[in-house]
C-alpha cells in the first residue's frame, strides 16, 4: 500500500496525463478561489458572484466533456502507483455524474438567482460552500479508495451542514443545520470505525482488495463477525448520504429548514452521489468474484442493501402521508425515491454477465430523470412560496386558475414522481425493474421479484399523497389572488415538465447516454495488474 506522500512512489505516475483527466475538479477548485477573490476585486454583489460561479461551472462542464472522449475508451485509475487502488478514478461513470451534477448545479444557481439574489448579503460564502459540496460529491463518485471515500463524504457533508443553516437569523434553518450536523458526525464516526476495522483486516485501503478479501472469506463459507460489522459500518456512510432508512432522520428537517434552492440541491445531488458511490462499491465487489455462477456468495450483501432499499421507499412513502408542508412532503418523497434507486444498486451482476451494465445504467437514467422531476417540483414550490410566503399545501389551492403555467408543470412533475406513464418517471422506474429482472435468472430470483413487487406496490402507495397536491391545485379554488412569477422561473419549470413528457417518447438518446455512463464500469477497479506494468498498458489490455 502506497500513500501519496512517499516521494519514491511518484516516479511511475504519468502525472501530466492524470492532471488532465482530473482537470474538471481542478476547475471547480479554481472557481471556488475565484469566488473568494471576487469580493476583493469587484465587490460583494450577489449577481456578480453568481455570474462568476456560473462561468466556473460552465468551464468545468466544458472540461468534463473535453476529457470524456479520452476517458470513455481509456478509464484512468490515477494518482497512485497501483492502478487497482488509485486514489481517484476517471471513467465513464464519474464523468457522467459530473456532467449531470454540473447541469443540475446550473439549474440550482439559476433558481437561487431568481429567488435569493436580491436579498442575499453573503453570496461569496454561500457559493464557496455550494461549490465545495459539489466538489465533495464528485470526489465521492471518483474513487474506490476507502480513505478518499471518507474524505469525499466529509467534503460533501460539511459545506452542506453550513448551507442548510446559512441564514443565521432563521431559527428553523439553524435547528435543521445542527440536527443534520450531529447526525452526519455520528454517521461519519461509525463509517470511520468500520474503515479502520476493515483496514486492520485487509491491510489495504483499496475497495478492490477489500472486495477480494470479502469474497474469499464468504466463498469459504465463513461470515466473520468482524468483517460483517466492518462492512455494515462502511455502509453507513453512503446510506447517510442517500438518507436510507434508518439513517434518514436528518432529511425531512434539513430539507424543510433549508432554503428551497438548497433543498433542491441536496435532494438530488447528495443522494445521487451516495448512490453512485455505493453502486461503484457494489460493482467492485461483483468484479471480485471469479465467475458468474459464483455470485451467490454475495447474497448477504445484496439482501442487506435490498431490504434497506425496500424499507426506505416504503417508509418514505408512508411518512409523506400526513405532511402539510410541500417541502417536507417532497423530502419524504425523495427518501422514497432514494429507495427505488437503491434497489438498482442491490443488483449484483458479474462483469461477464449478460447485462452487467444494466443496473448502473438504470440508476443513471433514474438520476437524470429525477433531476428534471425534482427541479420542476421544487421550482414550482419555490415560485409559489416566494410569492405567498408559505409552502403549505393549502397555499397551492386553485393554482390552476391563479398560475396555470405553474400548475401544469407541477402536475406533470408530480405524476412523473408517482411513476405513471406518459411521464418519464415511469421509464425511470421501468429500467430499475428491468435491472432487477436481470437478476432473476439465477441466485437472486427471490430478491429480484421481492423488490419488484415492493417497488410497484409503492407506486400505488405514493399516488395518494402526490394527488393531494394535485387535488388542491386543480379541483379546489378559494379565490386566492393570481400569482405572478418571473418569466425565467416559469421557463425553468416548464422546460423540466416538457422534458419529462418528451423523454418518454424519445427515450433512446437518454438510454444510450445512461448506457454510455455505465460502460467499462469494472475496468478501473477490477483490472489485475502485474507489478511493474505501466498503467496505460494495463488499462488498454482491459479494453
Amino acid at each position: 500500500m502506497t500513500l501519496l506522500g512517499q516521494t519514491s512512489a511518484w516516479s511511475g505516475i504519468p502525472v501530466g496525463e492524470h492532471l488532465w483527466v482530473f482537470s474538471p475538479m481542478i476547475a471547480l477548485i479554481a472557481t471556488m478561489l475565484a469566488v473568494v477573490a471576487c469580493p476583493i476585486v469587484v465587490g460583494r454583489s450577489a449577481r456578480t458572484i453568481a455570474r462568476v460561479a456560473t462561468l466556473g461551472v460552465i468551464v468545468t462542464l466544458g472540461l468534463t466533456l473535453a476529457t470524456w472522449g479520452e476517458v470513455s475508451t481509456n478509464p484512468v485509475s490515477g494518482l497512485s502507483t497501483q492502478p487497482t487502488s488509485g486514489m481517484l478514478i476517471a471513467d465513464n461513470l464519474s464523468i457522467g455524474f459530473q456532467v449531470i451534477l454540473m447541469v443540475f448545479l446550473l439549474g440550482v444557481i439559476y433558481l437561487w438567482k431568481i429567488g435569493s439574489a436580491g436579498s442575499e448579503e453573503n453570496a461569496p460564502e454561500f457559493f464557496i460552500l455550494l461549490l465545495g459540496s459539489a466538489l465533495g460529491m464528485i470526489l465521492m463518485v471518483s474513487t474506490s479508495n476507502l480513505l478518499m471515500i471518507v474524505l469525499g463524504i466529509e467534503m460533501a457533508s460539511l459545506p452542506s451542514y453550513a448551507i442548510v443553516g446559512f441564514n443565521k437569523r432563521d431559527r428553523k434553518g439553524a435547528e435543521a443545520s445542527v440536527k443534520y450536523m450531529i447526525f452526519g458526525a455520528v454517521c461519519a464516526a461509525i463509517m470511520l470505525y468500520g474503515v479502520s476495522l476493515l483496514y486492520g483486516m485487509v491491510g489495504s485501503l483499496s475497495v478492490a482488495d477489500l472486495a477480494r478479501y470479502t469474497v474469499e472469506q464468504f466463498a469459504g463459507g465463513q461470515h466473520p463477525l468482524l468483517l460483517s460489522v466492518g462492512l455494515l459500518c462502511l455502509l453507513v456512510g453512503p446510506a447517510f448520504k442517500i438518507s436510507a432508512v434508518p439513517f434518514h432522520f436528518w432529511c425531512p428537517d434539513a430539507f424543510e429548514g433549508a432554503r428551497i434552492e438548497v433543498t433542491t440541491w441536496l435532494s438530488v445531488a447528495s443522494k445521487a452521489a451516495g448512490l453512485i458511490l455505493l453502486a461503484r462499491m457494489v460493482s467492485t465487489f461483483a468484479g471480485a468474484v471469479d465467475e458468474p455462477l459464483a455470485m451467490s456468495v454475495l447474497k448477504p450483501l445484496a439482501w442487506t442493501i435490498g431490504i434497506m432499499a425496500a424499507v426506505t421507499c416504503t417508509l418514505g412513502n408512508f411518512a409523506a402521508y400526513p405532511q402539510q408542508s410541500v417541502k417536507r412532503l417532497l423530502a419524504y418523497s425523495s427518501i422514497a425515491h432514494a429507495g427505488y434507486m437503491m434497489m438498482a444498486v442491490a443488483v449484483f451482476l458479474h462483469p461477464q454477465a449478460d447485462r452487467s451494465g444494466e443496473p448502473m445504467a438504470a440508476l443513471m437514467f433514474y438520476i437524470i430523470v429525477y433531476v428534471f422531476m425534482n427541479l420542476g417540483a421544487f421550482g414550482v414550490t419555490a415560485l409559489v412560496s416566494w410569492e405567498t410566503g408559505s409552502d403549505r399545501i393549502e397555499g397551492f389551492t386553485g393554482l390552476m386558475r391563479r398560475a396555470p403555467w405553474l400548475a401544469v408543470p407541477m402536475v406533470v412533475c408530480l405524476i412523473s414522481l408517482v411513476g405513471l406513464p406518459p411521464m418519464a418517471g415511469f421509464l425511470a422506474k421501468w429500467w430499475v425493474l428491468v435491472a432487477l429482472g436481470s437478476l432473476a435468472d439465477g441466485w437472486g430470483a427471490n430478491l429480484a421479484w421481492f423488490l419488484i413487487i415492493v417497488a410497484v406496490v409503492n407506486t400505488l402507495i405514493s399516488l395518494y399523497y402526490y394527488l393531494r397536491i394535485v387535488v388542491v391545485m386543480t379541483l379546489r379554488d378559494t379565490g386566492e389572488p393570481v400569482i405572478r412569477s418571473p418569466i425565467g422561473g416559469l421557463a425553468l419549470v416548464n422546460f423540466c415538465a416538457l422534458m419529462l413528457l418528451a423523454l418518454l417518447v424519445v427515450s433512446a438518446p437518454l438510454k444510450a447516454t445512461a448506457d454510455r455512463f455505465s460502460r467499462n464500469l469494472f475496468d478501473a477497479t477490477t483490472v489485475t495488474q502485474p507489478a511493474g506494468e505501466p498503467v496505460a498498458a494495463a488499462l488498454d489490455r482491459a479494453d
Partner: protein
C-alpha cells in the same frame, strides 16, 4: 403508416388543436376530431370486403395471430431487449375500436351544451382531456405490444381522473380519487407481470435455443421470422410453442408459485377492477354518479370493455392453463356480480346509480362467459361487451337528459314522463329494454350466448349447469328492476312538476337514434353485425388455447 395509428392519434391532434383555437370553436374542433376518427374507423370495414372475397371472420384467417393494418417499429431498444410500437387489429379488437370511436363521437356531441353545465369552467381543458382520453382508449385496443398496451392503459387514467374530478357532481373529488386508486391498484400487479413475462419468455427462448443448438426460435405466428430473445409481443407470447410450454410447465415457478396461474391472477386483478366485478366494483357507482353525462357514457360504453378485452387478449390466450386453474373462482365471481349487481340495482332510488349497478350485473355475464372457455361463451362475452357498450351509454344519456330538466335523480319523484316527453319516452323504452335483454334487442343475444356457452361447458366443468341456472335467474332480476324502473319513471299519471319539460331536442334525438337503431340491429342481425367479424379470431384463439391445455395435461 397504418390507419390504426391515425385512428389513435387524430384525437390527440384534436386535443392539441383545442389548446390553441378561439374559445368558441373548441367544441367544434372536438366534434370534428372525433368525427374524423369515427369515419376513419368505419373505413376499417373495408378490410372484410377485400378482393379476395373474404367477407367473414376469415378476413383474419384461421389461426390466432392473423392481423390487419399492422405497423411495427422499434421504439425503445437496449441490449437483447426491444419494445416495439406495434399496432394491429383482429376480430377481437375490431368491433371495440369502432365502438370506441362511435361512443366517443356521441358523447362529444353530448358535451355540446357544455356552456350550460353547472360547472362550465375551462372548456379548453375539458375537450382536450376528453380527446386525450379517446387516444388512450383506442391505444389500448390497437396495441399488441404489452409495454405499449400498459402505457396506453395508464395514460387513460389521468384524463379520466380530471374529467370526473373537475366537472363532476358534488362528491366528485372522492369519486375521482377512488377511481384512480382502484384502477392503479389493479394495474401495479400488471406491471409485475409485464416484467416477469418478458424475462420468463427470455428464459424459454434461450433454453429452446440451447436445447436445439440453434441461433433463434421460429416465431409462433409470423412466417419466416426468428426470435432470439424474450418479447413483449402479445401474439408471440400467446402462440410461440417454446414460450407457451415454458409458461404452462408446472416446473416454472415464480417465487415458489406456479407461473401461469400466478401471472393469470396478476393480470386478472387489473382487468377485474376495470370490468368491474364484485368485490372490486365499488368505484363504479361513485364514479358514474359523480361524472358528467358524457363521461358516464364513455365510462360505461368503453372503459369497462377494456377489462373484458384484457381478459380475452392477455389472460386467456397467454395463460390458458391459468384459466383452467381459476375457472371456478372466476365463474363464481361472474355469477355473484350478476346477481349482486342486479339486487343492488333493484334497491337504488337514484336513477343513475341504478344504471351503474346494472352495468356491474351485465359485466358479470362477460366474466362468466369467458370463464368457461367455450367458443359460444367467448362469442357471447364479446357480444355482450359490444351490446352493453351501446345500450348502457344510451341509458346514461337518457338519465342525463332527465337530470338536466329535473335537476334531481330520485326515481320515486318521477312518473308519467312518457306522456310529457313522447319521443324521449319511446327511445328510452328501447334503451332500457335492450339493457333488460328483451328478445329482438341487443342485450338478449349476449346473455343467451353466454348461458349456452356455460351449458356447453358441462362436460369440462361439473359446476357449469348450476352456474348457468343461477345466471339465468339473474335475467329475471334484471327484468324485475328494469320493468319496475320503467313503471316508476315513464308510466303512470303525468306529474305537475314535470309537465313543462321539453321533449328531446334535435341534438338529443340525433345522439339517441343511432344507439337505438344499433340496439335493434344487433338484436335482429347478430350474425351480420358482430359475429362474422369476431368469431374467426375467437375460434382460432380457442383452438390455440386448447392445444396448450392439451399439451399441459
Amino acid at each position: 403508416m397504418s390507419i390504426l395509428t391515425w385512428i389513435v392519434f387524430v384525437p390527440m391532434l384534436g386535443a392539441l388543436l383545442c389548446m390553441v383555437v378561439p374559445r368558441r370553436q373548441i367544441r367544434t374542433v372536438a366534434v370534428a376530431a372525433s368525427l374524423v376518427t369515427f369515419l376513419l374507423s368505419l373505413s376499417l370495414f373495408a378490410t372484410f370486403f377485400n378482393p379476395a372475397g373474404e367477407t367473414s371472420g376469415e378476413g383474419f384467417g384461421s389461426r390466432y395471430g392473423m392481423l390487419q393494418h399492422v405497423q411495427r417499429a422499434t421504439w425503445i431498444e437496449s441490449k437483447s431487449f426491444a419494445i416495439e410500437y406495434f399496432v394491429g387489429m383482429d376480430g377481437l379488437s375490431f368491433p371495440l375500436i369502432v365502438l370506441t370511436t362511435l361512443i366517443s363521437l356521441l358523447s362529444c356531441l353530448a358535451s355540446w351544451n357544455f356552456d350550460k353545465w353547472a360547472i362550465n369552467k375551462g372548456p379548453r381543458a375539458y375537450f382536450a382531456l376528453f380527446l386525450l382520453l379517446e387516444t388512450g382508449m383506442l391505444g389500448v385496443f390497437v396495441s399488441l405490444d404489452f409495454f405499449l398496451f400498459y402505457i396506453f392503459w395508464e395514460v387513460m387514467l389521468l384524463p379520466m381522473y380530471f374529467l370526473i374530478g373537475a366537472w363532476g357532481g358534488p362528491r366528485r373529488e372522492y369519486a375521482a380519487i377512488k377511481f384512480f386508486l382502484f384502477t392503479l391498484a389493479g394495474s401495479v400487479l400488471m406491471l409485475v407481470a409485464l416484467v416477469a413475462m418478458y424475462f420468463y419468455s427470455d428464459q424459454a427462448i434461450t433454453a429452446e435455443m440451447a436445447r436445439q443448438g440453434i441461433e433463434g426460435v421460429a416465431s409462433g405466428y409470423r412466417e419466416g421470422v426468428i426470435i432470439s430473445h424474450g418479447t413483449f409481443d402479445l401474439m408471440e407470447l400467446a402462440t410461440n410453442p417454446a414460450i407457451q410450454n415454458h409458461f404452462a410447465a408446472s416446473s416454472t415457478l415464480f417465487l415458489g408459485w406456479r407461473f401461469a396461474p400466478l401471472m393469470f391472477l396478476f393480470l386478472f386483478v387489473g382487468f377485474a377492477v376495470k370490468l368491474p366485478c364484485v368485490p372490486v366494483h365499488t368505484w363504479l357507482p361513485d364514479a358514474h354518479v359523480e361524472a358528467p353525462t358524457p363521461i358516464s357514457m364513455i365510462l360505461a360504453g368503453v372503459l369497462l370493455k377494456m377489462g373484458g378485452y384484457g381478459f380475452l387478449r392477455l389472460c386467456y390466450p397467454i395463460f390458458p392453463t391459468g384459466g383452467m386453474t381459476w375457472a371456478f373462482p372466476v365463474a363464481v365471481i361472474g355469477v355473484v356480480s350478476i346477481i349482486y349487481g342486479a339486487l343492488c340495482a333493484m334497491a337504488q332510488t337514484d336513477f343513475k346509480r341504478l344504471v351503474a349497478y346494472s352495468s356491474v350485473s351485465h359485466m358479470g355475464y362477460v366474466m362468466l362467459g369467458i370463464a368457461v372457455m367455450t367458443d359460444t361463451g367467448f362469442q357471447g362475452a364479446l357480444f355482450q361487451m359490444i351490446a352493453h357498450g351501446i345500450s348502457s351509454p344510451m341509458c346514461f344519456f337518457l338519465v342525463g337528459m332527465v337530470y338536466e330538466r329535473a335537476h334531481h335523480r330520485e326515481i320515486n319523484r318521477f312518473g308519467g314522463l312518457w306522456l310529457t316527453m313522447p319521443r324521449y319516452g319511446t327511445l328510452a323504452t328501447i334503451g332500457f329494454f335492450a339493457s333488460l335483454g328483451l328478445p329482438g334487442l341487443c342485450g338478449f343475444i349476449g346473455e343467451v350466448w353466454v348461458l349456452l356457452g356455460v351449458f356447453a361447458a358441462a362436460e369440462k366443468f361439473t359446476w357449469a349447469i348450476p352456474m348457468a341456472i343461477l345466471a339465468a335467474a339473474g335475467v329475471v332480476l334484471t327484468a324485475g328492476y328494469i320493468l319496475w324502473l320503467i313503471r316508476r319513471v315513464y308510466l303512470g299519471k303525468e306529474r305537475e312538476e314535470h309537465a313543462g319539460f321539453p321533449d328531446a331536442s334535435g341534438r338529443e334525438t340525433f345522439i339517441l337514434v343511432p344507439m337505438a337503431l344499433l340496439c335493434i340491429a344487433l338484436g335482429v342481425f347478430p350474425m351480420q353485425t358482430v359475429f362474422i367479424f369476431t368469431n374467426g379470431t375467437l375460434d382460432a384463439m380457442l383452438a390455440q388455447m386448447a392445444r396448450v391445455i392439451g399439451m399441459g395435461s
